[in-house]
């Protein structure tokens, strides 16, 4: 069951009604049961066992860390917890890689990993690690109520694809007595509908273009490849932000405000700005739990220490996405962008002030353009099926021979894709400019907007060949 499935539209109202009519003290149980049911609907029972295992281990380790006075013992419990979580993550995520390596070395033909999916595992193990570290650093108190802690780990709107929530943000909200709030409900539903629009109208119509190019790279060159890369950049953003909108919209129905994960990332003026706007909960996580400890350890190295810490942090982020060289190169590229900025940033600032172009619109547009292209360049490695394909795309992007293949544009439904993008642009820049939930016009205009959005989805949605959310695989 995914947010864009028919089943979810039945599941959500039923869960809400149960939640609404249940007394406050038992509401956590309704949400926990619903979350496990939601996870079980993936037809992979072992996932539920993995979630329970990670929940049990982190709950127990959290209590042990807090109960110990001795620093060494506290640290031991922290590392035991972290090691267990990383082991779970590695086992689930890197099993296919390990199996393929073992098969090739020992000439075996096992295909165990083809039956294993790891949807959501990364997200809840990251939450578990952050919970343990926060307790160790005395930022958080350990949660005493196992039910609330289990719900913190499993809360279904953020279970499959984040946002990665901190215990300090989510746990207090889960314990808060629920009061029906008309505005929160309205904004939640609108946010969900907006995310749904992005997914079934925009993403599902963009996907065939990127797939066409990246699954047959050798048939294309020049502008077709460049367009394929840009289309993928849009696809992955809309896809992921659509999911987050739907997750946050769902959360809001239950009185929970989940972390905002995106803030117009393609309007970033530098790569570091991009990472403040893209997958925010994840960037905060790697910054706090990987970069900062590394930087602290190497602070005597000065700028070099920060640069190396950034490089390693982003390499880890690449590896987190999966056991593929494409992800490693993607992470490495972002690490390189960030690490190099440590050195050139002061000179860049000086240059801008000497030229007197600081804070000018032209500079901002130029910076947005450059950042978007650097990010899009890295996406090539992220999306390409193999490293060879990625090199081919880069080597042939600027070739004028077979500059443009019209069959790329002639893919079925290209007019509708254009209509979908225009509708998105109009809606997002006019009606929903300052966040969908602040759309407060008079009731008649609001009514027209709601109906317009719903009917746009009805008419423009792609009913066949719908795609799963891209980040499910991570």
């Amino acid at each position: 069951m995914t947010f864009n499935s028919f089943h979810y539209f039945l599941f959500l109202p039923v869960v809400y009604l149960f939640f609404y009519f249940t007394a406050d003290r038992w509401r956590w149980l309704v949400l926990l049961f619903a979350s496990y049911l939601f996870y079980a609907s993936l037809n992979a029972p072992y996932l539920l066992a993995v979630l329970l295992l990670a929940t049990g281990i982190s709950y127990a380790c959290g209590k042990c860390i807090a109960s110990q006075q001795n620093e060494a013992a506290r640290r031991s419990w922290l590392w035991i917890g972290i090691f267990a979580c990383v082991a779970i993550l590695a086992a689930m995520k890197y099993l296919p890689f390990l199996e393929s390596q073992t098969n090739s070395i020992f000439k075996l033909s096992s295909n165990l990993s083809s039956m294993v999916i790891s949807i959501g595992v990364s997200y809840f193990t990251f939450q578990a690690i952050s919970y343990l570290v926060d307790i160790y650093l005395d930022i958080e108190e350990p949660e005493q109520h196992f039910g609330y802690f289990a719900l913190y780990m499993a809360f279904f709107p953020k279970l499959l694809q984040g946002p990665i929530e901190r215990a300090g943000d989510l746990l207090p909200q889960l314990k808060c007595p629920y009061r029906f709030d008309y505005d929160a409900m309205r904004s939640g539903m609108l946010l969900f509908t907006w995310g749904f629009f992005k997914k079934v109208v925009v993403v599902d119509r963009l996907a065939p273009y990127a797939d066409q190019v990246f699954n047959n790279v050798h048939n294309y060159s020049g502008l077709s490849l460049i367009m394929g890369v840009y289309v993928y950049a849009l696809q992955i953003y809309f896809d992921f932000s659509a999911y987050t909108d739907m997750a946050r919209g769902t959360g809001r129905l239950f009185g929970i405000n989940l972390t905002e994960n995106f803030n117009s990332p393609y309007l970033a003026i530098s790569i570091s700005d991009f990472w403040r706007r893209w997958h925010i909960s994840f960037s905060r996580w790697i910054l706090d739990y990987i970069f900062k400890p590394l930087q602290l350890g190497w602070r005597s190295w000065g700028q070099v220490g920060s640069a190396v810490a950034l490089l390693i942090t982003f390499l880890v982020s690449g590896i987190w996405h999966g056991a593929s060289w494409g992800f490693v190169v993607w992470g490495g590229l972002h690490g390189l962008y960030m690490a190099s900025s440590v050195f050139y940033k002061p000179y860049q600032k000086k240059l801008h002030s000497t030229l007197g172009i600081e804070k000018t619109t032209c500079l901002k547009i130029w910076q947005i353009f450059v950042t978007f292209n650097l990010v899009s360049f890295a996406w090539i490695f992220f999306r390409a099926n193999t490293l060879d394909d990625a090199y081919y795309v880069i080597a042939n992007m600027l070739k004028t021979e077979k500059w443009f293949r019209f069959d790329f544009l002639l893919l079925q439904g290209n007019k509708l894709t254009a209509v979908a993008l225009i509708a998105y642009a109009l809606l997002s820049t006019t009606v929903f400019k300052n966040g969908i939930y602040t759309c407060n016009y008079n009731k008649y205009i609001n009514y027209i907007i709601y109906n317009g959005l719903i009917l746009l989805i009805f008419f423009l949605a792609k009913y066949s060949e719908t795609k799963d959310f891209i980040y499910f695989q991570f």
Partner: protein, 301 residues
């Protein structure tokens, strides 16, 4: 809560009304399934031979020149289960039917529409032929809504705009322009067929055939099995074992129930000019094959 519920209903009302309108329109889109049922109903008192099967017989058997009134009820990807369900539903209304031709394609005995990528087609049978029971056990909204079956409102509008079913008065549907036929296309066609063939379906398909033979024999209806010709680019690339299974099982069952089986799979009277693609006859090939089949049916009776 009440205010919100009322507003939700008000917001969804235009959507619900539009969806209902499109659902009703979608159920009236002209298509080969409804066209064949309408044809059958109009000829129910005169038709004597029914032809079942998949696109192989849909494009391959044109009973125009047969001496008895015959009707082609085949459709793309139609499996034996659909054949059986259609016959069970409509045979009692067709009092004069005495012969039913069940084409056996290379894939027929190891194929089930509901578990194939073409499973959405199962819904056409329930919507347009009123034949139920062949849908996939897994929930699929397309089995319950014609609107979704036709890919939403834009799909419905597009299908209504096309509004064309090319079919003669005997239910025969000629294919459009010939496709390229060569060794590569042959390999691809075989691979496509074999990708949806599962040996574990053999038992259930044989049971369907036996049920058909038992039930219809008691109603004095003769069953004839026929395998339609394919071009050499297809026949040379098949897995021999699958073919052997098909022929031996059908021969066994034919012998057991005393029915005829005509196998034209490797028939060398057909050349490339008779084929639309590697495993489908074209209009010319269909007339040629229909004449051969008719002669054999009459002569060998």
């Amino acid at each position: 809560m009440i205010k919100l519920t009322i507003k939700i209903i008000l917001c969804l009302l235009p959507l619900i009304l539009t969806a209902i309108t499109f659902e009703l329109i979608a159920r009236r889109i002209p298509n080969s399934y409804s066209a064949k049922v309408n044809l059958l109903m109009s000829k129910k008192d005169s038709v004597e031979i029914l032809i079942m099967g998949s696109s192989h017989s849909n494009h391959g058997i044109n009973p125009k020149y047969w001496n008895k009134e015959a009707l082609n009820l085949a459709n793309a990807n139609q499996s034996l289960l659909q054949d059986y369900n259609i016959l069970s539903k409509y045979l009692p209304e067709c009092k004069k039917v005495r012969t039913v031709i069940i084409p056996i394609s290379y894939f027929s005995l190891q194929y089930d529409m509901a578990s194939s990528p073409e499973q959405r087609r199962c819904a056409y049978y329930s919507f347009y032929m009123d034949v139920k029971g062949a849908e996939s056990a897994r929930f699929d909204i397309r089995n319950h809504s014609a609107l979704f079956l036709w890919d939403g409102p834009l799909g419905v509008i597009e299908s209504m705009r096309r509004n064309k079913v090319v079919m003669n008065e005997y239910g025969y549907q000629p294919p459009d322009n010939n496709k390229t036929i060569n060794r590569e296309t042959g390999k691809k066609s075989v691979a496509m067929r074999e990708a949806n063939m599962y040996i574990n379906l053999l038992g259930s398909n044989l049971k369907i055939l036996e049920r058909m033979l038992t039930e219809f024999k008691s109603k004095d209806i003769k069953i004839i099995f026929a395998t339609i010709p394919v071009y050499t680019t297809f026949s040379q690339n098949i897995t021999k074992n699958n073919y052997d299974i098909m022929t031996s099982k059908i021969n066994n069952i034919a012998t057991k129930y005393g029915v005829k089986y005509y196998n034209y799979f490797y028939d060398n009277r057909f050349d490339v000019s008779d084929f639309w693609d590697d495993d489908h006859l074209n209009e010319k090939g269909a007339l040629k094959f229909s004449a051969i089949l008719w002669n054999d049916m009459v002569k060998k009776q």
